[in-house]
């Protein structure tokens, strides 16, 4: 039953469409996450460019107000759920097993299902553009604007149903990575020896598991309102719009940390390697991450200061929010502490990591300013808050994810991204980013509300908006430079060594790209930064290049169609709820077809031997 390396590589190299559709290999799934998320990221970026072009001048008429509302709703939704989250998932998938010394995740087929549910959900949401009915109620879909009465079209149905589909993908991945990290670590890798990225991923999964059910229920209630005519959030039937805000932000604030914690982890991997010095204050970093996540569940109402909750609630949520600055500050100081006394090597990943710290400081400080409730009454729902969360999400998450892309590209694809182009990419992105978002602080303080499709001349918004628009195109150009870099790298195909950066973690001990089974011999870990320990023990700066292996005797789960079938079933099931029908029998024919498809898929999957389709002797 054992499979030889020749057959394995043969299968991998054939690279048929079917082999990608049925793959359960965490590395291929990671690449698929990355590729699809990058495409969605580009779509969200194009939406942003149209938005910025419309706002470049006052009283512009480039797009209709209706289309503008679709653009900013989809821009926000896309960047959060289809951009940053799945780009993080790319790194979870590809690198968590490698970092903990495992051959795959705990549930490879569940992992494949997460991927396909995510891709189908993302396509479904963007399909709405083709029907001229893209979601238009803002990414937090406030009731009662999102109710059938005020949003009669299919627009918000796409949003409500699309987010539920994406939620399933996130929850399945949450269960999977929670289990993988806790249970699949190499021998000797205790919790406090885990690389920092593994820690922040684990905490992120806990946040997903505890916050996504809340938004799932909120979306179900909204769907019930829209499809079956209930009134959870509409005042006419006794509902309360405030309930939606509470449920949304009980999810929405932890979601912020779901977006930023993986970035913290990536930075904490990169800085030590390019400082040639271990992470400063590892334990403090672990506990501050956990503390941030914990506090993240107790501060949701700071998104609601302008609703007039009363002075006691304002005080509580102000102070709780300020508390978060303490563990966040600890992180920033520890990163600087990591640099301190090091021997800094300014490779592209390091530049992006340093850019991350510099930008995140700004976003963090404007966050503290938002926690000051009375001042927030002037800043919330203006371009000041737009500037703030872009400093966190772009200056934070995207800079970190780009750093991770440069850092781990050689391991993923076995080639090195070009350093010169990479440095151009960095400086253009840094300049474009600051030119886009720094002026927005001023536009906001000078009174520009967010989500307006145009503004009159004479309020003084012109200069800052023009700066932001020019910056946005510069930023877009930097992404083109990145794409050019990827294209050049693929064309030149210069093989990368196993350990191009002098890494500290286990992924650098295996070939680039890794063979399908990752580790021929399962590693044993005796301390933190295990690969540095190995090198120090051997008295070398780089380990000898690992040889390719036969993989004889290593068993891997075989490919399967059923995860894809289940994902399609879930999609069809939910589409059924876009059709209005009577509540006496809440399931239309489409829903039933989708349910059956899902059920059949789950049973077939359950009874399929995991290596049923694995290559055999």
């Amino acid at each position: 039953m054992a499979t030889s390396v020749l057959e394995q590589t043969h299968v991998a190299k054939r690279g048929t469409l079917a082999s990608w559709l049925t793959t359960v290999d965490h590395k291929k799934i990671g690449i698929l996450y990355g590729a699809s998320a990058f495409l969605f990221f580009l779509i969200g970026g194009i939406e942003a460019l149209i938005i910025r072009t419309q706002l470049a001048r006052p009283d512009a008429t480039l797009v209709s107000p209706e289309f503008y509302n679709q653009l900013f709703t989809m821009h926000g939704t896309t960047m959060i759920f289809l951009g940053v989250m799945p780009l993080s998932a790319m790194f979870f998938n590809f690198f968590i097993p490698l970092l903990i010394g495992a051959r795959d995740v705990a549930f490879p087929r569940l992992n494949a299902m997460s991927l396909w549910v995510f891709i189908l959900g993302g396509l479904f949401m963007n399909f709405s553009f083709l029907m001229n009915a893209a979601p238009n109620g803002g990414w937090f879909g406030y009731a009662p604007l999102s109710s059938r009465q005020y949003s009669p079209g299919l627009n918000m149905d796409f949003w409500v149903i699309g987010l539920q589909i994406l939620g399933i993908a996130s929850l399945a991945a949450g269960v999977n990575f929670f289990t993988t990290i806790l249970n699949m670590r190499a021998r000797g890798m205790t919790l406090m020896r885990m690389p920092m990225f593994v820690w922040t991923t684990l905490i992120t999964q806990i946040l997903v598991l505890l916050s996504f059910p809340v938004i799932t229920v909120a979306l179900i209630l909204l769907m019930v309102d829209r499809t079956f005519g209930a009134s959870f959030f509409s005042v006419g039937g006794g509902g309360d719009p405030m309930l939606w805000q509470h449920l949304f932000w009980v999810f929405g604030h932890p979601e912020v940390y779901i977006l930023i914690l993986p970035a913290f982890g990536i930075i904490s991997e990169i800085l030590p390697v390019f400082s040639r010095k271990p992470l400063f204050g590892y334990s403090a970093m672990v506990f501050s991450s956990a503390f941030i996540a914990f506090l993240g569940f107790g501060v949701w109402s700071h998104h609601m200061f302008s609703t007039g909750m009363g002075p006691l609630a304002d005080t509580f949520f102000s102070l709780a929010t300020m508390l978060i600055a303490i563990p966040t500050g600890v992180k920033i100081f520890n990163w600087i502490g990591t640099l301190w006394g090091g021997s800094l090597q300014f490779k592209t990943p390091m530049l992006f990591a340093l850019g991350f710290i510099a930008m995140f400081i700004t976003g963090g400080l404007s966050g503290v300013m938002h926690s000051v409730a009375p001042a927030d009454l002037q800043q919330t729902d203006t371009y000041f808050v737009v500037a703030h969360f872009h400093y966190v999400l772009f200056g934070g998450s995207i800079f970190a994810l780009t750093a991770g892309a440069y850092y781990w590209w050689p391991k993923m694809f076995g080639t090195m991204l070009n350093e010169t182009i990479g440095k151009w990419h960095f400086w253009l992105m840094l300049a474009g980013f600051n030119l886009t978002f720094f002026p927005m602080h001023f536009a906001g303080l000078l009174g520009m509300p967010r989500r307006i499709y145009t503004y009159p001349a004479g309020l003084g918004f012109e200069l800052f908006n023009m700066m932001a628009t020019v910056g946005a195109f510069l930023l877009a150009f930097s992404i083109l430079v990145f794409m050019y870099n990827m294209w050049v790298t693929v064309r030149r195909n210069v093989p990368a060594p196993a350990d191009p950066w002098g890494g500290a973690t286990l992924e650098w001990t295996i070939p680039s790209p890794p063979q399908e089974w990752n580790f021929t011999v399962e590693p044993v870990v005796a301390e933190r930064d295990p690969v540095w320990a190995m090198k120090r023990a051997a008295g070398v700066r780089t380990l000898p290049e690992p040889t390719l292996d036969s993989g004889k005797g290593i068993h891997l789960p075989g490919p399967s169609w059923w995860p894809l079938v289940v994902a399609v079933g879930i999609l069809v099931f939910f589409i059924g709820f876009m059709v209005k029908h009577s509540y006496a029998f809440p399931f239309g024919p489409i829903t039933i077809v989708g349910f059956l498809l899902t059920a059949v898929g789950i049973f077939k999957w359950a009874y399929e031997a995991p290596d049923a389709n694995a290559p055999k002797h």
């Binding site: 549930f107 569940l110 309930l243």
Partner: protein, 219 residues
């Protein structure tokens, strides 16, 4: 109760489904970092997530339980004796499934099948009770969208009922395997996973019963 991880259990590398696992092939065993099977850990994390799901639904019900400007309210239609019966049945079923698992671990096929059948029977009874209750309420004038009390009641208990249905289906699948002789003691974990989920579904009802039925009557 916890089964020692057997060498044959290879779910770490191979099992991708929580519903049921049919792996017998001789994969090499992979150690787990904690002395708990992957699938069990996954179910626990899923249950943790589900707690928030039901907490949100129960909170929504509590917010809207007194919102019945038209149509019947809780006092008008709740029939506590019936639901108490259903609650008792569900409580017993948790005990039954423990006995079934005990039988599976001992290799006592008769014991396992008997208790498992009893558990499934309890699940079916509970679902029947809920169908009866819903149709009764409907005839009393409480449609799904008659008032917010009704909508949040049906949504909460409907989702719980769906969980009971999924759990029953799961137990039936395990039962089918057991009848075929595919549930030796080494694979008792397959039943244990279903049982864990079943216990959770019961516990949720133990919260719903006082919070939804008894508290609504008091106010």
């Amino acid at each position: 109760m916890p089964t020692p991880p057997s060498t044959e259990d290879v779910s770490t590398m191979s099992s991708a489904t929580l519903a049921h696992d049919e792996t017998h092939d001789a994969h090499e065993g992979h150690h787990t970092s904690f002395p708990i099977d992957n699938r069990k850990l996954a179910i626990w994390s899923f249950i943790g997530s589900e707690c928030l799901f039901f907490a949100t639904l129960i909170s929504t019900f509590l917010i809207y339980k007194d919102s019945h400007p038209k149509g019947p309210g809780p006092k008008d239609i709740f029939e506590v004796p019936l639901v108490t019966g259903g609650t008792a049945v569900l409580l017993f079923s948790s005990f039954f499934v423990v006995m079934a698992l005990n039988g599976a671990q001992e290799g006592n096929r008769k014991k396992m099948l008997g208790w498992l059948a009893a558990t499934i029977g309890c699940g079916l009874f509970f679902m029947g009770m809920q169908v009866y209750e819903f149709s009764h309420f409907y005839h009393e004038g409480l449609g799904y969208t008659t008032n917010l009390f009704g909508t949040s009641f049906y949504t909460l208990t409907g989702f719980h009922g769906t969980h009971v249905a999924i759990g029953t289906l799961w137990l039936i699948t395990v039962f089918k395997d057991a009848v075929k002789g595919n549930l030796p003691p080494a694979k008792a974990l397959n039943l244990e996973l279903a049982a864990l989920y079943w216990h959770f579904v019961d516990v949720v009802w133990i919260i719903i019963f006082p919070v939804v039925y008894l508290m609504s009557l008091r106010s």
